[in-house]
């Protein structure tokens, strides 16, 4: 599977950073699957959690950040976090959630938060620690967007509470949870085409 495009001249960027077709389509497919999960989550889970516990619902906000950690762990290419998070966001909009167009903004900052961490280790380290930090980065991105857009009138202690819950949730659910998820996927043998399989 690793020689999917043998005929292409090697004039472009090096093999470790160039996106093959299989990288693009697998990340997009993962993102589509997460987008469908997001839609369900947005419409059936989040409004109730928010209605019953606001702002405590941020304890489960890490679910939205899973693509930003899972996709880079699978394909190990620059840009995977932003690409996956944006595609998942667009799919949830196309299905119809309550945040619509705005998730293009939140998807971008969430992906960028995780992307910065993977870029900082030059896309060479994909340990659980880096995954947890990437989760935290995505969580900070999420807070950076959500506070001004939806919680600007909240009193300061509640805003701080949102950031703390958001980052904790991002580290556990998206970071460590995403790392465990990729390990489980790898154990099924589905990632033979990717470097993560070493």
């Amino acid at each position: 599977m690793s020689t999917l495009s043998p005929s292409r001249p090697s004039a472009g960027p090096s093999e470790s950073t160039r996106w093959r077709t299989v990288d693009i389509v697998v990340v997009a497919a993962l993102a589509v699957a997460f987008g469908v999960v997001f839609w369900f989550w947005d419409v059936y889970v989040w409004p109730w959690a928010s209605f019953l516990s606001s702002p405590g619902e941020y304890a489960i906000s890490g679910v939205w950040l899973l693509p930003a950690v899972v996709a880079p762990l699978v394909v190990r290419k620059p840009g995977a976090a932003i690409f996956a998070e944006m595609v998942a966001a667009i799919v949830s909009v196309l299905l119809g959630n309550q945040w619509g167009l705005d998730v293009l903004l939140s998807g971008f900052v969430q992906g960028a938060g995780a992307e910065l961490i993977f870029a900082f280790v030059l896309y060479r380290n994909f340990s659980w620690l880096v995954a947890a930090l990437a989760g935290a980065g995505a969580g900070l991105g999420e807070a950076l967007h959500d506070l001004p857009v939806y919680y600007s009138s909240f009193d300061v202690p509640y805003q701080v509470g949102i950031v703390v819950l958001d980052v904790l949730s991002a580290v556990t659910i998206a970071g460590v949870g995403g790392w465990l998820l990729v390990r489980a996927i790898r154990q099924t043998g589905a990632l033979q085409a990717f470097p993560a399989n070493e």
Partner: protein
């Protein structure tokens, strides 16, 4: 069997169906920004009126299906508005006169006004989204992103290929559930059910990855990654409609922000 909502598509030709997707996206973003930058409820209210007018007159969308499509907004708006009012910082400010004082609960005018602004903001976002994504399908969006904004074509069309798989996921889910029942797996209690949900999600992700790998192989067999410069099958033309849409949206956003109350 499909668990997913049917996509909303235009039922008649209309002005916005002939505007390119990225022009609608640019126009929509101006309203989103205008609704976000202020806590004055008058601004998003004006934008809601403008969006409803545009939906009725120029979107070509089936109007009877729109309330159902916007239903998910209901609870979200209610809880966001109520909690924005209850947890507002201005309630603690003793120099602002209270509208309501009930034991520990104190609610001020600025808190109510900001809470309403944030609630109506969500309505603006919902309606604007229908105007941006409603009048055309994802294929046209990908064409538009590649031809007008020079998005990398392999990423745009690779994603479009993966998107075709979305309706199959619901069927996958049913098969996975049936297979687990057949094996006699019966989760008990909240923890058991959550674990079971996680297991089924894992199987769904693995099957999507395997399907995507086969899809990529088929695409490469047809020269998807040949490196030869791609030409466009459906050429999009930018015209006066695109310029007019962006200009009018910008003017409406500016007017909504600066008009006196």
């Amino acid at each position: 069997m499909s668990l997913l909502p049917a996509p909303l598509a235009p039922v008649r030709p209309a002005f916005l169906t002939r505007v390119t997707p990225v022009a609608r996206l640019t126009a929509g973003m101006t309203w989103l920004v205008a609704a976000i930058v202020t806590l004055d409820p008058a601004v998003p209210t004006r934008l809601v009126v403008a969006a409803v007018v545009a939906l009725v007159l120029w979107s070509g969308l089936p109007l009877r299906r729109i309330p159902g499509r916007l239903a998910p907004l209901g609870l979200a708006i209610l809880s966001l508005t109520v909690f924005s009012i209850l947890l507002s910082g201005s309630n603690a400010d003793r120099s602002i006169a209270a509208l309501v004082e009930l034991g520990p609960i104190r609610i001020t005018g600025p808190a109510v006004s900001a809470g309403l602004a944030i609630g109506i903001r969500v309505v603006v976002i919902g309606l604007t989204t229908l105007l941006v994504f409603g009048p055309s399908d994802p294929t046209r969006l990908a064409d538009s992103l590649v031809q007008q904004w020079h998005a990398p074509d392999r990423f745009a069309y690779g994603t479009l290929a993966a998107l075709r798989v979305a309706p199959i996921l619901a069927g996958d889910w049913a098969v996975i559930s049936a297979a687990r029942r057949l094996r006699g797996i019966q989760p008990r209690g909240a923890v058991g059910r959550t674990r079971d949900l996680g297991d089924r999600l894992l199987v769904m992700l693995v099957s999507s990855i395997r399907r995507a790998e086969r899809l990529a192989l088929a695409m490469d067999a047809r020269g998807f990654d040949s490196g030869i410069r791609r030409t466009h099958f459906r050429e999009l033309r930018v015209g006066w409609r695109d310029l007019l849409t962006v200009a009018v949206a910008l003017a409406v956003a500016a007017a909504a922000l600066v008009l006196p109350r």
